[in-house]
Subunit: 152 residues, 2 copies
């Protein structure tokens, strides 16, 4: 391993940059102003309405110190609403608004196009293999030890 | 594709988070305070001494607006020096200092440990395949169109 272009870490950063650029391009072309993380937050909240910020951070593996900013922006855009939790006054239950649901439905085709576009250089079987390898490598870290916490 | 955990974009973000966390842990344990991007910048400058900031940004695929901050921090740490370019007064030629060379040599074992650790859940043949798939997917974007520019 003498060249950074053979290093998994460097390649992961490059691929992640491309993934974000492709997502941004497709979302913008479809008329939506959402980042990948904002999209995933909305998608997870549709399936888990009423969860709090810490739970959402865990589900999307986003670090707790910056998830607040993601939620603030989604609330400002009118896509998300906070409601007081009956159990914990400091926690807020998060729900999609009607506009949030409409945005999620509307952006879906662009998101799926982006997912295909970011791996456009690969054969279908290679895409399946890349997804499998990602999941296996990630699972080993999540199950194995404390490194599952996102980087500072 | 109904679950974000099957999306290449989401998985790429998760894997990249793990890669950065593992790098940080190994570098810190070895007594070094370098980010992955700072490390790659030093490694590239060792092989390409005297290049300017824009060339470095291109070689490590880092966006031009933030590479300045990376270089500033490396200069502050005494690992990098800027020299005026004879051809362009606005450009600065970048060189590793003696301390930069020593840091690069000293951190190398930790970097290699980190590269192995971030894919510890995979068999050796799977690591080779992951690297091949990353390179193929990235190359398609770099060769194909304007999406090679990093995300804003």
């Amino acid at each position: 391993m003498h060249d950074h272009s053979d290093m998994p870490g460097h390649l992961a950063r490059r691929f992640q940059q491309i993934a974000v650029a492709v997502f941004h391009a497709e979302a913008t072309a479809a008329g939506f102003d959402l980042t990948p993380v904002q999209y995933v937050a909305l998608a997870v909240l549709r399936h888990h309405p009423g969860i709090d910020q810490a739970t959402l951070a865990g589900l999307i593996a986003y670090d707790r110190t910056t998830i607040g900013g993601v939620i603030d922006r989604l609330v400002q855009k009118g896509l998300l609403a906070r409601a007081a939790s009956p159990r914990d006054r400091r926690a807020h239950m998060l729900h999609l608004t009607e506009a949030g649901l409409a945005t999620l439905a509307g952006i879906q085709p662009a998101v799926e196009t982006a997912q295909r576009h970011m791996v456009a250089g690969l054969e279908p079987a290679e895409v399946t293999e890349l997804i499998r390898l990602f999941r296996k490598a990630i699972a080993a870290h999540e199950q194995g030890h404390a490194l599952m916490k996102p980087a500072p």
